[in-house]
């Protein structure tokens, strides 16, 4: 028998049949009896005081059932960083002041969407315009307008990380270079826009169906904002059309639909338009980097000093996490003996900048991997070699921060080295760029201040052997329902189709922090494995008695066969044991429970994945346009639970992270996003997509379920840097501000030519 019978196999997704037949129901598809439709009025100004809102005309429009403004709220402010009251800065429905173009000021519920939209035009808002500031560098100046009361210099969050003696180390360096980078914004562009159906009934209980990455966060935040008990708020996540970091904060659709429903005792549905999705939901945090890097002649990196200012936008959201993590991951994946990071997040009058796949790590990886290539060139060292020299290894301690247990970085470097050598001599204007990366498997810091375990699961075994798995994990497309079902089946020794998963419904599932920070496989996987083991233990107790096994024999279940580990032929059918156990226990249901919170794993994460990526480009030197030809990734994520899932994560990351390097951007003018439609926001499509190749590297993570760790966001980290390095290899110009557009490449080529003349 092979070691595993379920995990590591190429299986169909558990939600597959529904999704390929169009029968999967998303929040977007939900229609309830007596349901109303809501729309939200948003500020057209980046910074203004609300003098008066006159809703009377809108209320008189036939078909309009309710109009709410900030006055109808409890006036509370929230954020996911609720451990820190000073960071709870977002009212959602503004009461006195708007802080960006798109800030909500009123919401309408009507019999249909058209009527609701018509009503928005009838709401008269009187604004007193205030001076606004858009650039974070300007925002932190003395004379800048203050965006939040009491926040000096508009500095929202600061973060300092330091180890070793940085100043002393720089003195010992043979070579030091200092560079500046700008990392742009990026939109998540989930195919399903933010949406919610809220139903508050005469029983005073609220149910919300919503497209979310964390039903638990939404439950807790909605309850607090509306003055309800958490237990009276049930949040259900139907199938969800993508998240990528945009859907684990309380959003305007969820809040306004709930508020309107409470007022009317009728279900209210709000679906954000694509334009609202671009302008009034959160986005990737733009970052301005200054980095000083020092090394010995042989390429040993001794010290790194990083200063970052991030454009925070109007509110905190998850932007504080982005600031923390960009600081930590600026040291990745290398062993810097001396390191210093100072990060500042500035409020600006722009759409709030927050979490997007990888938090701040795609930014820090672009910066770090660009600079290490520059350093390697200056010192005359091969890019792979310098990464080998400094790269992290298993059992490495990041001083005061993290303990790295498994780490396959060096095997990944070997594989990419081989790949590049195989490609051989390239034609002119072609180049391969390399980028190494690492990422966390879920976050440790409890900024949400939850008293619950980070992950939990319940396994219930039915009389027929069918298993109901209850978990708060949120499948937003990444496939956690499948991965967790596989883990449950493997641990319990049954088949995948024996499992029925019930996920992300706070009414029936234990709390889980949700799908962010690449945490579900490791954290929820551990909880599921523990719950399954708990249920299995109950079965094995009966089996042992029935088989009359000597107590020195260990028992297990595999492939629905309950048996002695050392004498697998001696055993009983799983189905018989289930029946016997239930009968023998006075009919008590078999329930297994599991939970997981990382302990003694440092400040950041219980485990880290690593990889190296090589991007090959061909540059047209007359126009600056380049073609992404191939992206090859050597990746290690511990034991692979769901190989089809990992392929999908990796190839999808190339589309998204390649887009970050290649074309995606959110240009602004006076706080207004200039491309708020998919026609104007450029995304990689099938004709632009490069070939992708995956080189698997085996590792085993002791902290993860069956040795697994993350394989989601980390893959978004390397691509922009790999592209930048590839363009440099191809034509010798380096672009330090994202995205690397043809226009920037051409301009750099011309400057290079002029300098040569």
């Amino acid at each position: 028998m092979s070691k595993y019978s379920v995990i590591g196999k190429r299986v169909h997704r558990v939600d597959g049949p529904e999704k390929v037949t169009g029968s999967a129901k998303y929040t977007f598809d939900i229609v309830l009896h007596n349901m109303l439709y809501g729309k939200i009025l948003r500020s057209p100004y980046p910074h203004a005081r609300i003098v008066n809102i006159d809703t009377s005309q809108a209320e008189r429009l036939i078909g309009v059932k309710a109009v709410v403004t900030g006055k109808d709220t409890l006036g509370r402010k929230q954020s996911t960083w609720r451990r820190f009251p000073e960071l709870c800065d977002e009212e959602i429905l503004c009461r006195t002041k708007v802080r960006y173009i798109g800030d909500p000021v009123a919401a309408v519920a009507a019999i249909d969407e058209d009527t609701a939209e018509e009503a928005l035009d009838l709401i008269e808002v009187e604004y007193e315009l205030l001076p606004a500031v858009f650039d974070p560098m300007e925002a932190i100046k003395e004379e800048a307008p203050q965006i939040h009361e009491g926040v000096e210099l508009n500095i929202n969050v600061t973060r300092h990380i330091e180890w070793g003696d940085v100043d002393e180390a720089f003195k010992q360096c043979d070579y030091i270079r200092e560079d500046h980078f700008k990392c742009s914004s990026q939109a998540h562009v989930c195919m399903e826009t933010h949406c919610a159906v809220a139903s508050f009934g005469y029983d005073s209980k609220l149910t919300i169906w919503t497209s979310t990455q964390s039903s638990y966060y939404i439950q807790a935040l909605v309850a607090d904002m509306l003055g309800l008990r958490e237990g009276d708020v049930r949040v259900i996540k139907p199938h969800t059309g993508g998240g990528f970091g945009s859907k684990f904060e309380l959003d305007s659709a969820q809040f306004c639909a709930s508020l309107l429903s409470m007022k009317l005792c009728q279900p209210v549905k709000i679906v954000l338009s694509r334009e609202e999705e671009f302008t009034a939901t959160k986005r990737r945090t733009p970052m301005y980097y200054s980095v000083k890097l020092g090394a010995k002649k042989d390429g040993t990196m001794l010290a790194k000093e990083v200063r970052v200012i991030t454009e925070g936008g109007a509110y905190t959201g998850m932007g504080a996490t982005a600031l923390y993590l960009t600081g930590f991951f600026s040291s990745f994946p290398y062993k810097y003996p001396n390191y210093r990071y100072d990060g500042y997040r500035a409020y600006t009058n722009t759409a709030p900048a927050s979490a997007m796949r990888g938090f701040g790590a795609p930014q820090s990886t672009f910066v770090g991997e660009s600079q290490i290539d520059m350093l390697a060139e200056d010192l005359g060292i091969d890019p792979i070699e310098i990464r080998r020299k400094n790269g992290m290894t298993p059992d490495y301690e990041v001083p005061g921060q993290a303990h790295i247990q498994s780490c396959g970085l060096h095997q990944c470097l070997d594989k990419i080295d081989e790949h590049i050598k195989e490609r051989g001599e390239l034609p002119p204007n072609r180049g391969i760029g390399v980028s190494a990366y690492g990422f966390m498997s879920g976050g440790i810091f409890n900024w949400f201040d939850t008293p619950y375990a980070f992950s939990a699961a319940i396994v219930r075994i039915n009389i027929d052997g069918k298993v109901d798995l209850f978990t708060g994990a949120c499948d937003i497309g990444q496939g956690s329902d499948t991965t967790l079902s596989m883990i449950c089946a493997e641990e319990l020794g049954v088949h995948l189709d024996d499992i029925r998963i019930h996920a992300a419904d706070t009414g029936i599932c234990p709390a889980d922090l949700g799908a962010w920070g690449s945490r579900e496989t490791l954290m929820n996987g551990n909880a599921v494995k523990m719950a399954a083991a708990d249920a299995k233990r109950q079965l094995l107790e009966f089996a042992a008695a029935k088989l009359g096994a000597n107590i020195v024999y260990d028992m297990d279940i595999k492939d629905q066969w309950v048996h002695m580990v050392d004498r697998p032929e001696r055993g009983l059918s799983y189905f018989d044991i289930v029946k016997d156990t239930i009968r023998g226990r006075d009919g008590e249901t078999i329930i297994g429970r599991g939970h997981y919170t990382p302990h003694r794993k440092g400040m950041i994460s219980p485990a880290y994945s690593f990889g190296v990526q090589a991007a090959e480009v061909e540059v047209d030197t007359e126009t600056g346009k380049y073609k992404l030809i191939n992206v090859t990734t050597a990746h290690e994520s511990g034991t692979v639970i769901n190989p089809v899932g990992i392929e999908g994560q990796l190839e999808g990351a190339v589309m998204m992270a390649g887009g970050y390097g290649f074309c995606e951007d959110q240009p602004m003018d006076e706080g207004k996003i200039l491309n708020p439609s998919i026609a104007d926001y450029k995304l990689i499509r099938s004709l632009d997509m490069p070939e992708t190749k995956i080189l698997e590297v085996d590792t085993y993570e002791p902290e993860g379920p069956f040795g697994a760790k993350e394989a989601g966001e980390g893959l978004t980290n390397p691509t922009a840097g790999a592209i930048g390095n590839a363009v440099y290899k191809a034509v010798g110009v380096r672009i330090n501000d994202l995205p690397i557009t043809p226009e920037k490449v051409l301009k750099a080529l011309k400057e290079k030519k002029q300098q040569a003349e």
Partner: protein
């Protein structure tokens, strides 16, 4: 002011009275309850609403429903025959050619239109065939592999 719309959807004839401003995707979703077809943008850019109208892939968010009067529409709900999945659906399952699934219906309909017209497309033609559809999850390559599998005859339609 409402007008009559007579057309067939997935082989079933319908007669409806609708406002002329109603776009096709709304008739399918709201009037007929066929919510498999999605809407992802307001600018005819994402392809999530793709259906086959009179044999051609169209974006049903950019066609007035009345323009389909007298026509034949095929949506994702019309692909499977009872509980027997269409070869494309099987291939999508095998190759993991979807994640969140929101673009999948449109992607399947573009794929179907492509293969109906050209049963032996090259890889470049497959890429062209789905270029009007955005997928934010998969990076397209698994979808291309799924279509390649169908083209190679690995997924036969049950007779």
């Amino acid at each position: 002011m409402k007008k009559e719309l007579r057309f067939t959807v997935n082989g079933q004839p319908y007669e409806l009275y609708i406002k002329p401003k109603t776009i096709l995707v709304e008739v399918l979703r709201a009037h007929l309850g066929l919510t498999g077809t999605k809407r992802g943008c307001d600018s005819s850019s994402c392809g999530a609403c793709t259906v086959i109208l009179n044999g051609m892939a169209v974006k049903s968010c950019s066609v007035l429903a009345l323009q389909a009067n007298g026509g034949e529409v095929l949506t994702v709900e019309g692909l499977a025959k009872g509980n027997e999945l269409h070869p494309l659906q099987k291939a999508f399952l095998d190759h993991g050619a979807f994640q969140c699934g929101f673009c999948t219906s449109g992607m399947l309909m573009s794929s179907k239109a492509l293969l109906d017209e050209n049963p032996n497309p090259t890889k470049e033609q497959i890429k062209e065939g789905i270029d009007g559809n955005i997928c934010r999850c998969t990076g397209y390559n698994s979808i291309i592999r799924a279509l390649t599998g169908v083209v190679k005859g690995e997924y036969k339609e049950e007779k």
